[in-house]
């Protein structure tokens, strides 16, 4: 109940914001009869109606995970975000080993197996991508490559 109501509220607010955004779109004197504003406005109105429907008739509450699992998922998001930033400056091998091990540990907390998974995936996928598929991956940080 509550989850659907909250989600419905988020949808309503987003739809209103989207509608407001649609009014801000610049139009050009060259525009066609419909112009660039109408279709986004239609989407916003339909979304708004759906959000209100969810507020009015919410579904049964889904089963949310307990707090420790939320923490794990939050850590995973941080790890993945860090990976996105590391991939360009640090090359493929090191970040991939770390992140693969991290994700593995988050799914099943076994440090040794996770570390092994990380290293094996990093090297294995590098060989696969670089030599079998011919993608232009950089192995190591630029500084170390000379």
């Amino acid at each position: 109940m509550a989850s659907d109501r909250i989600f419905g509220l988020v949808v309503v607010i987003s739809a209103l914001a989207y509608l407001a955004g649609a009014f801000q779109i610049q139009t050009s004197f060259l525009s066609d009869p419909v112009g660039p504003r109408v279709f986004p406005m239609m989407i916003a109105v339909v979304g708004l109606l759906c959000g209100l429907t969810m507020l009015w008739k919410p579904d049964a509450e889904p089963e949310w995970p307990p707090l420790p699992v939320w923490l794990k998922m939050a850590v995973t998001v941080v790890i993945l975000t860090a990976y996105a930033y590391m991939l360009a400056p640090l090359g493929f091998l090191i970040p991939t080993a770390l992140v693969a091990a991290g994700v593995s540990y988050m799914i099943a907390p076994q440090p040794a197996k996770a570390a092994l998974t990380g290293v094996a995936l990093s090297v294995g996928l590098f060989v696969l991508f670089k030599y079998a598929l011919g993608l232009g991956l950089v192995a190591l940080p630029k500084a170390m490559m000379g």
Binding site: D32, P33, F39, P40, G47, V77, Q110, T117, G118, L137
Partner: protein, 506 residues
């Protein structure tokens, strides 16, 4: 016979050693994706699109690889349904009902062979159906103007939301979310930015591949963390494989009926393979009535849904190729592939790029034969793969997703956006909001808006033009019926005996 000569030309394109190799690799990977619980056809194809693209494959080769993966997942899903009682992907859900009881009675091998043959019958005949129907539909599609296309897009969203989801409001929200995202970027006709917030990265819009991989693959990590990465332990033993001729003969009619039902539900926009296997199973159950032992390990209970879901996979290609409107989640992902390759599906595709269409169709036939060989005599190989634990599998999927997206654009921003879509996908799935309409919205959004605007240019702003032709009116009626009818039917039809249908994976 135009069709025959086209088909011969298609085989000429598809039967080069390299494309054959791609078909074999694709079938192999596809069967694995299908068999592994948690990875379905949509994720499997989504992860491989960026990889195929950066490998520098040409259009035909990329299509051969990806359709082989698609057909392969349809075959593979049954393996874990039968051996683990966990559907390897959504469409294989119905196969667990009789497959697992058969396995527990020591007939796992028989169940795998029967379902493998049923898969072959279903997808082979539906590919024949595709050959017959696609050119016909393509010739009708010439009659479609912008007003008709607008109604057709609407129909796809409505049936997808109405038939495949439990809550119409949530399906419509998903569609709006996708359409809303599609609006981000430069407006096609005025060239002015919309919803970019001044962010340079958003000027080109959001790449649908980023959204697809995020929603389908990255969100899977969170689902697995939540489920504590249950390892799949195979509870039944697989003995020597023999071919149960008697059961195969007994289920011939079942396979053919399942194929017919599956093909029709595949062609209908939005319905897809999950519905195909569900309808095929339910129809067979009611036809055979008390003569069958459905639910207790009846071989026909394995044959019907497998023929149905594989036939739906072929059927779903018909509207995707001829009209550019996908019939299921995975064909939506395939549409993304075509658009990435700069191929616009539709009636013109058959005239302008016949080698692509017929090469694709020929490769579907080839993939089917390869898959029959892989999935009947060599099925034990895939049973081994099922032993890969989640804590190896999921990191691997993550890394392939990141590398795939990164190699497309080399942009950190896209990777971050993918993670955001992953988190979004997790919440949507928990809240029972289908993710396929989101993808469909992102893919079709600009086309839908363009057809509306072009229709209004033609009619000089007269909105009644949208309802001015019989085809358009028919599509509008079908769209409204598709969206509203399930509201009333839901009370009449009994709930299926399985967890509720979900189109996320089909």
């Amino acid at each position: 016979m135009d069709t025959i000569s086209n088909l011969v030309m298609g085989f000429g394109v598809a039967l080069t050693p390299f494309t054959l190799l791609l078909a074999v690799v694709g079938c192999f990977l596809g069967t694995i994706f299908g068999a592994l619980p948690g990875l379905g056809p949509a994720n499997g194809v989504a992860i491989l699109i960026p990889v195929a693209f950066t490998m520098g494959l040409d259009a035909t080769q990329a299509l051969v690889l990806l359709t082989s993966v698609y057909y392969g997942t349809m075959y593979g899903g049954r393996i874990s349904s039968i051996l683990l009682n966990i559907p390897g992907d959504e469409p294989a859900m119905m196969t667990t009902l009789d497959g697992f009881p058969m396995a527990r009675q020591g007939r796992a091998g028989d169940a795998l062979v029967i379902s493998g043959v049923a898969s072959f019958v279903g997808s082979f005949l539906s590919t024949v159906g595709l050959v017959v129907m696609a050119p016909l539909l393509a010739s009708i599609a010439y009659l479609f103007g912008p007003a008709e296309y607008f109604a057709l897009y609407l129909l796809a969203f409505c049936t997808l939301g109405g038939v495949a989801s439990k809550n119409q409001a949530k399906a419509a929200v998903a569609a709006c979310l996708g359409l809303g995202i599609a609006m981000i970027g430069l407006d096609n006709s005025t060239g002015l930015p919309r919803f970019t917030g001044g962010n340079m990265h958003l000027m080109d819009g959001i790449d649908f591949l980023v959204a697809i991989v995020g929603l389908f693959a990255i969100s899977e990590i969170f689902i697995f963390i939540e489920s504590h990465g249950r390892d799949s332990a195979i509870g039944v033993t697989l003995g020597k494989l023999t071919i149960p001729w008697k059961d195969l003969k007994a289920s011939t009619g079942t396979m053919l009926r399942g194929t017919g039902i599956g093909f029709v539900s595949g062609v209908l926009p939005g319905a897809g393979a999950s519905l195909g296997s569900f309808m095929a199973y339910m129809a067979e159950k009611s036809i055979l009535g008390s003569r069958g032992r459905f639910g207790q390990g009846d071989p026909r209970g394995v044959a019907a849904p497998e023929a149905g879901n594989n036939a739906a996979a072929g059927g779903a290609m018909v509207p995707m190729l001829t009209l550019g409107v996908p019939g299921s989640g995975t064909t939506a992902v395939m549409l993304a592939l075509l658009l990435t390759l700069n191929i616009t599906p539709g009636p013109l595709l058959f005239k302008e790029r016949p080698e692509v269409v017929w090469g694709l169709i020929a490769s579907l036939f080839i993939a089917n034969v390869v898959l029959l060989i892989m999935n009947v005599p060599l099925v034990k190989l895939f049973v081994r793969v099922l032993m890969i634990p989640a804590w190896v599998l999921l990191p691997m999927v993550t890394m392939i997703s990141f590398v795939g997206i990164y190699s497309l654009s080399g942009s950190t921003f896209d990777l971050l956006l993918m993670v955001v879509f992953g988190v979004l996908g997790y919440f949507l799935r928990k809240l029972d909001v289908p993710t396929v309409p989101v993808i469909l919205g992102i893919l079709l959004g600009s086309n839908m808006e363009d057809s509306l605007r072009r229709a209004m240019v033609i009619s000089d702003g007269d909105w009644t033009f949208l309802f001015s032709s019989p085809i358009a009116i028919g599509l509008w009626i079908a769209a409204i019926a598709g969206f509203v009818a399930p509201l009333f039917l839901r009370g009449v039809l009994k709930k299926p005996p399985v967890p509720v249908m979900d189109v996320n994976e089909d």
